[in-house]
């Protein structure tokens, strides 16, 4: 699980390093997971995307992904307080660890009916 390149770093630094070097030659495939992120309605309006691929270090949680997205799309902060996350079509707690090829959806307030 641990990437050899990160052994001399603190866990936080290791994660940052992994994220920063995700395209680097030295990365081991196993240290990254690649998922699909879906944006609906207001989240889509803000990001301008309905979906995107996203790579983060393995053992990242749904909350870690949300934090990463908030850095990529600053305006997502507007709706951060009212969205819910869904992982593989089920509402998810913030602490669930995301697996490779998972589908993470940003669910803004719903209004069906």
């Amino acid at each position: 699980m641990n990437s050899p390149t990160c052994t001399d770093l603190s866990p936080v630094a290791a994660c940052l390093k992994e994220a920063d070097t995700m395209n680097g030659d030295s990365k081991k495939e196993s240290s990254l997971v690649k998922i699909k992120v879906l944006f609906f309605v207001r989240a889509r309006d803000i990001t301008g995307l309905s979906e995107m691929p996203l790579e983060v270090s393995s053992r990242s949680t749904t909350q870690d992904y949300l934090k990463k997205l908030l850095v990529m799309f600053l305006s997502l902060e507007e709706i951060q307080g009212c969205v819910v996350l869904a992982l593989n079509e089920e509402y998810a707690v913030d602490t669930i660890v995301v697996q490779d090829e998972d589908e993470l959806a940003i669910i803004p307030p719903i209004s069906g009916g």
Binding site: C82, L85, E90, V93, I110, S111, G113
Partner: protein, 189 residues
């Protein structure tokens, strides 16, 4: 999920909702009652003129959620058949956006389950509507969702005891986490 022999029909599509078809689906000689709910596009909101509603959904999750709600309703009430249809895309004023039909041997089960299903759909199913006015538009937000939001995110924590029971039946995590909690409320009435 529903047992193999449960008669549930869940449809989400851009087609006009054919009410007669769903009534026909739930009707049966052994069912003495059919309760229905139809949600239709209203022409005004807070004195603004509404031209139309535009719906969209996270379709596969929405279908799973509604099926999960149907299963949950069957735990609380003795139901014969359930049909839930939700329309997507543009729904002009006066037309139906959601239709629910529930049949049961006696009326109380169908009536109460129908109310439960529409309330749960509004609180937990990932479907959205944009209200289009003559001078603007807005994504709507159901108050039922906002009240339940934190529960949805923490279902495994908040509902663990009941959740275990629910998962035992299905061997699968329910899509809409807090439905069991609502069952409790209903049973206390």
């Amino acid at each position: 999920m529903a047992a193999e022999d449960d008669k549930n029909l869940v449809e989400i599509s851009e087609n006009t909702i054919d009410i007669a078809r769903y009534m026909n689906y739930v009707s049966a000689p052994q069912a003495g009652a059919i309760a229905t709910f139809a949600g239709t596009t209203r022409d005004t909101f807070e004195s603004k003129t509404v031209l139309e509603l535009r719906y969209e959904a996270y379709v596969p999750m929405a279908i799973r959620c509604i099926k999960s709600i149907c299963s949950s309703a069957r735990v609380s009430w003795n139901l014969y058949s359930i049909a839930v249809a939700h329309r997507l895309g543009t729904v002009p004023v006066g037309e139906t956006s959601i239709f629910i039909a529930v049949s049961s041997v006696h009326r109380a089960d169908a009536l109460e389950a129908c109310r439960f299903i529409i309330d749960e759909v509004k609180a937990t199913v990932p479907i959205w509507k944009k209200e289009v006015y003559s001078n603007g538009e807005v994504w709507k937000e159901n108050s039922e969702f906002l009240e339940r939001r934190s529960d949805l995110g923490n279902k495994d924590v908040d509902c663990s005891a009941k959740m275990a029971e629910s998962m035992e039946r299905s061997n699968k995590k329910p899509c809409c986490g807090t439905k069991v909690k609502v069952d409790d409320d209903v049973s206390q009435k």
